[in-house]
Point group: C2
Chain length 669, copies 2
């Protein structure tokens, strides 16, 4: 039995059995012509509806250009896409004729379970039908409401399988490595602990709102505690795309940028896995919606399993790609082959993760990060710009598509439930959830950080809690029940509000909070905190171990950058080292250090001043893990050698803990 | 009623009604879990099968690299992709377990016409089913033969709606303009007249073979004359991708390259439209498979209508894109927006053509040519390389995907009918058809051409009649009847044979035929023919009119290249001219002439020596139209001015005939 279940890969609907068309031609000519005409008509409608979206995007692009040209900053391209979507949605909703009438459903009783395939005998000919899904008895009569509205409604899985992967991959691939790693600890804390806190607080507040609604009599159907938590997870996925675009434009403070961007990228991953875990929470026995410890721990296990599995998938494919591009060095002469290979390998991460039951989108994120860290170093100059540009275009198109679809969905989605109390409650809840996530966490992080997160940064982060594509995709994924429909409608409104109002208010807010703009991203952070030039003994040793392992062994093995293995391996392994070291390494070192400053963790940054240990913990398992944040200053490259020799020993210990360190919460958060 | 008919846009299957999932959750938890597990299983299988293809492509890329590195030329990447496809096909066919068994079809009688949507009441719950297609009664029991084989079988429309468009667009966009236009007349003659001749000859020969098979008793089902003609159309689409790759590698003669490439690009378009027209040939009355003049003329009308309609769609979207990029000049600062716009507009051509009932693939071809001719001039330098690279990657992936799918299909397609007589007959027929197309046409063309098509060129063209992606896609489009299944199997074998044997024999053939290699594509053609420097009075006036109109009015209006309108328009229109002329035109002229020599018809080439009028005619309507071939030599740019002033008058007449001239057969071939 094949329900259009949660994880159905829509892209693969394309993989349809072509072998089932036999006999199609054996009917009489007249009926065949009529049939074909209808098929053509349907095909034409499909084309028209896709054309609608393309024209929407074209309009958006032209208007964006106008805005960029005039330096308009109060409305971002995504906000614009939503407005155009809204307009077209209104036109489709009120302008198009209702049902064409020829698709009347036919009922036929059957006592068994439903089959995937149904053969129907119509005047001697057999027709094959496939199961599409179950319909609640009350909805039977408005199933075929409006052809055009149906045509412009996508299956929610399209978002997860086609539109989100390029967006998320691009985010991972374009993480500004240096600033990201400098603030890694804080970012991980915000993403994991913060998202969990936010989810839990919003969930509980919303449960209060739901109780209130029941008291007032505003709730007509079931709304469980797990639904509230799911809403918390869905709405905790922040997407400050608007804010970051303005940051980019104005060259706002790079550390704040790294914190916001890093948090939003990772918290998308956390939110996806968190919502899957909440859905997996299915207490057994009679009290299906009360607390059940076994089910709770199962959920936690699901979270850990999916997250670490997806992380591993992404990292492994990234490393394999790096190895291939490392071994097939002569691919440099054929940038087309290189780019195609890179694209295929990255896509296969997604499919591999999905095939293994993990989350493709999360795997793709970590694949992107790994590709940027290792593979990027092995690509030819042309392939570097090709891959960046390819994913940039895909990301741009997918993002604007999603946002214009959101605008459209406000009018074309046919099962909206707008409940004023729920909506107001949700706005208050996300505000409180964001506050309870940013301020306390920043306080704790500041205890450990040398370069403190100042009050204006905290306010800016609080302000930048926009919701976007991920929240929408998670909310639309399941709109089967009353509670989920209400959650979807509310999410849509929250996205609209935050993108338009907060997005528009970013520039005034930046100046009001006195946040530096016009910063050169390659410059040092400002010496506005009382940072001393402490020695490396104070830095977090775990991170240093990972870093030196990566720098001394992984990078030389996987890429043409980094120091030659011959200098990093102990002398007893000299032969092995010489086998693994390519001549390019010796030549390329200097050149690479300059070229990739945006993309590759500039080695010099991390050597002397690590500072700043922070406390990070997961929200659900209750156990706490110490992890590290680094906030180093750019020091002279000459200091590398010292660190390398200093930390040359102890690589056995690091091997087992190294991978864990960059994302230390992969299996216990 | 929605049959998966010929023109069903599969891409748009994605556009599924998301509004039909209500009630899915109201069933009991146990059954739901079972259902979801099965859905997940199916999703996993989908991922695995797509992964298979991606791994195939990855392997192909790595082997190609090895081949390119070692300069192996006997096997092209497409041939390689087919071999890998074959291997995986064998594994899937004989290595995978057969049907999983849980999808038993259910029969239910109904006396009316089949509905699109079926509601089935299963123990009180309603499930929705959608119509998939008709099944011949004999096939009911092997519908669900093998899950894995079904999963790797794509709907044929995927080729037309997803894979072919980027291939064809790229072909149009990368036509080497100068050499293409220089040989335009010959190319049009080969593509239109040649394809029609080839189709007709192959069709008739195959009808003879079919008669023979009936006599010998080798034919067990119906095989009509129209089926034979359809086979002729399908197999007439040449695709010398292998040969051209070697030409590119060895820098073989540019005119021969232009002739082969131009012919194959245009004849794909002709073959598609031709096969649609043959399918549209449906005689009324009793004698459904005898000749019917009305139906014949209807077919001719369909051909003309579809071809000219698709051509217009492509040209119009190209011109609109050129206008947009012309007006929004400041888009130059945002190459991402420019590239995205270019991509969306080109895609919308396809959808627009499909929505209007024309052929998207053909429209995309002409859109590509127009984009290269006009829009390309308006793009920023970065966008030029971005668009080229984007479509290059898409083309590369799509092409290799199709070829590896072909290899796979030999084993996974479950309805092969291999008839030795038919196959041998087909090989002889395509040989004779190619010969009857190349040699007589070349003879007639040489009567008019100054720069004769020499014997070794003719032999090479004869030899390069490979069949590839288009023939396969056309053949797999309809495999419902016995005759079509036999045609499909035969086409597959022909593609294999031609790609492997002919592709491998190209390099020996080139040296055996003494064809020049190592030619600089920007050089003049060799003075090996007795060309004089005739005056322009002898050149074909129709073409000159079109050329000067394009050069003096269209190019200045649509692009930033070409002469300023102020110099080309009569003085009475001075004001208008000044409004339409941007300052860039004055600056950009010199620069553009050098940059775009590959892409843009170099203006200097066409001015003085046009020579060579050829006779071209359509194959079906019987009327003949004179058209022109140009075979000019590169002369000094200073001669432009003279021609411009000489041909400055008479632009009214040209407006109405101008567009016709470049593809003079658009509406009567």
């Amino acid at each position: 039995m094949q329900l259009p279940g949660r994880s159905r890969l829509l892209l693969l609907l394309l993989l349809r059995a072509g072998g089932l068309r036999a006999g199609e031609r054996s009917s009489s000519a007249m009926e065949e012509i009529a049939t074909e005409k209808e098929a053509e008509e349907s095909h034409r409608q499909d084309s028209v509806s896709l054309l609608t979206f393309i024209l929407l995007l074209t309009l958006t692009i032209l208007t964006i250009w106008l805005f960029k040209h005039r330096r308009v900053r109060f409305l971002h391209e995504t906000g614009l896409a939503m407005i155009y979507g809204l307009i077209v949605g209104v036109i489709l909703r009120y302008g198009s004729p209702s049902s064409s009438g020829h698709d009347k459903p036919f009922s036929c009783s059957q006592e068994d379970r439903p089959f995937t395939t149904l053969l129907v005998n119509v005047s001697g000919k057999f027709f094959e039908y496939t199961l599409k899904g179950e319909i609640s008895p009350g909805k039977i009569h408005n199933v075929e409401q409006n052809d055009m509205l149906r045509k412009v409604t996508f299956d929610p899985e399209v978002f997860f399988n086609i539109l989100l992967p390029p967006i998320i991959f691009h985010a991972g691939y374009s993480l500004k490595k240096r600033h990201f790693f400098r603030n890694l600890g804080s970012i991980l804390a915000y993403a994991f602990l913060g998202t969990a806190v936010s989810c839990f607080i919003i969930g509980n507040l919303m449960y209060g709102v739901v109780k209130l609604m029941k008291l007032v009599g505003q709730l007509s159907d079931k709304f469980y505690y797990t639904d509230c938590l799911l809403f918390g997870a869905v709405i905790s996925a922040t997407d400050p795309v608007t804010v970051l675009a303005i940051f980019n434009d104005l060259h706002a403070d790079v550390d704040l940028y790294a914190l916001l961007f890093g948090e939003s990228v990772l918290n998308d991953a956390v939110a996806i896995v968190l919502s899957s875990s909440i859905v997996a929470y299915q207490p057994t026995g009679e009290n299906t919606h009360a607390f059940d410890a076994a089910a709770f721990f199962k959920s936690v296990g699901v979270f850990l399993g999916i997250f670490s599995g997806s992380f591993m998938m992404g990292a492994v494919t990234g490393v394999v790609t790096a190895l291939i591009s490392f071994l097939f060095t002569k691919l440099h002469c054929f940038p087309l082959l290189e780019t195609a290979l890179f694209f295929l390998m990255s896509w296969s991460t997604f499919l591999l993760a999905e095939a293994c039951g993990f989350t493709g989108v999360v795997a793709v994120l970590f694949c992107g990060i790994t590709q940027a860290h290792y593979t990027y170093n092995n690509l030819s100059v042309e392939s570097r710009s090709r891959t960046k540009q390819l994913f940039e275009v895909l990301h741009f198109l997918a993002e604007n598509f999603i946002f214009s679809y959101m605008g459209l969905a406000l009018f074309t989605f046919q099962k909206h439930i707008f409940s004023p109390i729920f909506i107001i409650g949700a706005f208050i809840a996300i505000f409180l959830g964001r506050a309870a996530h940013i301020y306390p966490l920043s306080f704790f992080l500041n205890l450990g950080r040398r370069h403190k997160i100042s009050w204006n940064f905290q306010h800016m982060m609080m302000f930048s809690g926009l919701r976007g594509a991920m929240a929408f995709a998670l909310a639309i994924r399941d709109t089967a029940t009353y509670s989920h429909q209400m959650m979807f409608s509310t999410t849509l409104l929250i996205v609209f509000f935050t993108v338009w109002i907060i997005g528009g208010g970013t520039t005034p807010m930046l100046s009001w909070l006195n946040i530096r703009v016009g910063v050169d991203p390659d410059q040092d952070p400002p010496p506005n905190s009382e940072r001393g030039n402490r020695t490396k003994q104070e830095s977090a040793w775990l991170f240093r171990l990972w870093y030196s392992f990566d720098h001394n062994y992984l990078k030389p093995i996987l890429t043409h950058s980094g120091p030659p293995l011959t200098t990093t391996l102990p002398s007893c392994c000299g032969l092995l080292a010489r086998c693994l070291t390519t001549p390019q390494v010796y030549d390329n070192q200097e050149q690479l250090r300059e070229e990739d400053s945006d993309f590759i963790l500039n080695d010099g940054d991390l050597t002397l001043t690590y500072g700043d240990t922070t406390i990070t913990a997961n929200g659900s398992s209750g156990s706490r893990t110490a992890t590290t944040s680094l906030d180093g200053r750019k020091t002279k490259s000459s200091s590398e050698e010292a660190l390398e020799h200093d930390l040359g020993m102890g690589d056995n210990e690091v091997t087992s803990r190294g991978t864990r360190l960059v994302f230390p919460l992969e299996d216990n958060a």
